[in-house]
Every structure is written in C-alpha cells, then in structure tokens.
C-alpha cells in the first residue's frame, strides 16, 4: 500500500511538472481560450457532483434494510434518474456549450496573419489592411484587444497550430486555408506548438507568442517592415553568409539574399527564440545551429556545415544577431 502511495506521489510530481504559465490552456490570454476554460470548469464540477450523487445512491441502496426497496420503485427511479434526468442535463449542456462554437466576428479591416507550417518551422506573413505584407518566421505577435484572423495552411505535410492560452487548435492542411479568429486579452509572452505529428522534429516545432499593447505592436510591425540593418562591424559575417550559400535558402530584406526554402532572417536578432521555439536566442545557440542544424533539429532540411570554420560560424552568428 505504501508503495502504491509513493508511486502515485511520484506520478503526481511528473504531472505537476507540466504546469507552466507559458503554454497552458489554463493560463488564458485570449477570449476563446477563456470560454473553453470556463466550459471545462463547469463540466468538471458537474461531473464531480453527478459522480458523488451516484456514489451516494449506491451506498443508500446497499445499506437499505431488506424489503425496503421494491421492484416498481426501483424501476421508477431508473426511469427518472437514468432516463429523464440525463436527457435534460445533456440537452442543457448542449444548448449551453453550443454558442462557444460560434467564431468571433471578423471585419474587413482586421489584421490578418498568414501562417504556413513547414517541416519544422513556421512561415509567417502579417497582412495589415491597406499596407504591404510583412514576412517573418517562427514567432507570432498579436495586438491586445484587436481581432486577428489567422489564415493557416501547410507547405509539405499536415501540421496543427495551437496556442493553448489563446484559442483552440486548428489543423494546417496543404492546399487548404483554415481560418482561426482570435482576440488577445492581456499582454505577455506565451508559447504555441505544432500538435499534429509531422516528422522527426515534430516535438521541436514550437513558437513564442508575444501579445503586445496595440501601440507597441504597431511600432514593432513598422520596424519589422524595414530592411535589415546589420551592424557595420559584422561585414565579415555578411561575406561568410554569402560565401557559404546561405542565401540559397534564406531571405534577408535589403540584401541579395532572397531564398524561400528556409525561414526569413531579416530581423532574426529580435526574435525571442531560435529554431522555432527550440532554444532562447543567443550567440552560442546561433553558432551551434549554423554549424550543425541536424544535431539540433533532426530531419530539418538545413544541412550541417562540417567544412565551415568556427570563425566563419561566429561571424555569421554575430551578423544575424545584430539584425534586430
């Protein structure tokens, strides 16, 4: 018995290890997620009440003196508690929960963000009304209080887009565009993940979500729209970037690099994470990723560069990091 209790305790500790405030449907920062959490709590409390009621009924039945219970009263009880009450309760729950399936209304002038799932990263394009689109990758920023429509699709296999604190998950299917409408309710840095197995590095396909005050968001988007402004001291890195053929896959606005196979790197230095939510942005992480991306993300299309000198890798990392 003591062994069982100890195992349960250890298991509970593991489960508690999953608690966090960045990626949890219980840490809500959007309207749809708030509705879902509310429904979950109502259902959970209801389920506990019903389970307790059934247990109480069972104890009463087992403890009743012989002859107290008759067949007809038992049948009547089953008819009511087993037939009528569940029908009424389930119909009530159905009518109560159905409005949650209505999508938020979206207007013509609302911001659209097109996100395309790739193995194993996210191609992101902000489409503000009346302005040219802004391309970025592996990070989503949303303005608090404004309605945002995500247009979700995939370039290779099926992925799924889930920001637990913001809204329910939505599949990304090649050749099809799914709409997800959200409205963030408070600022903060959160996290989203791919929730459809998509290959070797599926579990390493995530992204940071930054909910910002509208003014800060507008300033950020205006900066994101500008071409890259690498520090002058990183010219060696720019040369190494070109010499190693990085531009074949990556684009950097304002330079000759215009590859479309990998993530856009125009303002990569300002992102909060590297490798699609893989690790915090840092010089060391950049060097490691440049030298041997498959070691960090197995199955990724970016090859390792064993022939590249450490000096070159560090120069490129400095170059990328300077592009805020």
């Amino acid at each position: 018995m003591r062994g069982v209790k100890a195992s349960c305790g250890v298991a509970a500790l593991f489960v508690l290890g999953g608690c966090n405030r960045h990626q949890s449907a219980l840490t809500v920062f959007g309207e749809e997620a708030a509705t879902v959490r509310h429904l979950t709590i109502v259902m959970l409390v209801g389920a506990i009440v019903i389970a307790a009621g059934v247990a109480a009924l069972m104890i009463t039945a087992v403890r009743a003196p012989e002859g107290r219970l008759t067949l007809s009263s038992g049948m009547r009880l089953i008819g009511w508690v087993g037939g009528v009450v569940p029908v009424v309760v389930l119909l009530g729950l159905l009518l109560y929960s159905l409005p949650a399936m209505r999508p938020l209304p979206v207007a013509q002038g609302d911001l659209r963000i097109a996100v395309e799932g790739e193995q194993f990263w996210w191609r992101v394009q902000y489409q503000p009304p009346g302005a040219a689109p802004v391309v970025t990758a592996n990070e989503i920023r949303v303005p608090v209080g404004r309605t945002v429509q995500f247009d979700l699709t995939a370039g290779d296999v099926i992925h799924s887009f889930w920001i637990p604190g913001l809204a329910g998950k939505m599949d990304m299917i090649p050749g099809r565009t799914n709409r997800l409408i959200v409205r963030a309710s408070r600022p903060g840095t959160f996290r989203g993940v791919c929730t459809e197995f998509c290959g070797l590095s599926h579990a390493l396909m995530a992204f940071d979500v930054v909910a910002m005050e509208p003014a800060a968001f507008d300033a950020w988007l205006a900066n994101e729209r500008r071409p890259a402004a690498p520090a002058a001291a990183t010219a060696a890195g720019a040369r190494a970037f070109a010499a190693n053929g990085c531009a074949g896959c990556h684009a950097i606005a304002g330079t000759d690099a215009a590859g479309q196979i990998g993530p856009d790197l125009t303002h990569v230095g300002s992102r909060t994470s590297l490798g699609a939510g893989n690790q915090p942005m840092s010089r060391a992480a950049l060097v490691r990723f440049i030298e041997d991306a498959p070691a960090v993300k197995p199955g990724a299309r970016m090859p390792a560069y064993p022939q590249m000198s450490r000096q070159d890798a560090q120069a490129i990392a400095a170059y990328l990091e300077s592009m805020k």
């Binding site: 037939g83 119909l91 009518l95 159905l98 409005p99 399936m101 209505r102 999508p103 799914n178």
Partner: protein, 126 residues
C-alpha cells in the same frame, strides 16, 4: 374517428421490423443533417437564417418517431392480461416488442433533437 384509428392501430402487429422504425428514422435524419449542411455550405457558403427545409425534415422525423412510439405504446397495453408478462405467449411477446419500441422511440426522439440543436446555433460552415 378515434375508434377507427384505435381499431387500425390494434389491427397492426408489432414485429421486429416495426421495432427498428424509430432508430432508422433517427439515422436517416442524421444523414439528412450532414447532407443538408454540406450542400448549403458548398452552394451558399453559410447557413440560412431560417432553415425551412431543415426544420421540415426534422419535424417529419419527429412525427414519424412519435407516431411509431404512440402505436407501440397502445399495443403494449393488452387488456385483460395480468402480470407477470414473462411467458412465451403471443401477447407477452407483443408486449415486449411494443415496450422496446416505445423505449427506442424515446431515445430516437431525443437523438433527433440533439442532432438538430447545433443548426440553431451555428451559422458558419467551419
């Protein structure tokens, strides 16, 4: 009129075939719901504000199920027959089939209502 209807009802005999009428109607309504939604979404791109065709289909399904249930209920009451009804006789067999039909009709009626409820709330094809 009532006597005539009653006479007709009692002339009918509950069988395994009439027993499956309510769940079959439920299944047909279920299929109808999906077809109706799919065709509307493909051709119009949204649900109409007043889904008349869908309402008519649902009411027809409910009437059929209720009718089957009422007929079975009348037939489950064979006069002059005392309980317990557990012999292998014609009347006990009919009671059993009729009562089973009543229960199935109740379940199917609720099932159709539960299937139809989302149409009242959803206006979007996603």
């Amino acid at each position: 009129m009532k006597r005539g209807l009653h006479g007709m009802v009692t002339r009918l005999k509950v069988t395994l075939w009439t027993l499956i009428v309510p769940p079959t109607v439920w299944a047909a309504h279920f299929l109808f719901s999906y077809l109706w939604a799919a065709i509307h979404c493909a051709k119009v791109g949204g649900f109409p504000r007043l889904p008349i065709l869908y309402a008519v289909g649902t009411i027809v399904a409910l009437l059929l199920i209720a009718g089957a249930g009422i007929i079975a209920h009348l037939q489950s009451r064979v006069p002059g027959d005392t309980p317990p009804h557990e012999e292998g006789t014609d009347s006990d067999r009919m009671r059993f089939l009729a009562f089973s039909t009543v229960l199935l009709a109740a379940l199917s009626f609720v099932g159709v209502l539960f299937t139809a409820a989302p149409v009242l709330f959803l206006t979007d094809c996603r």
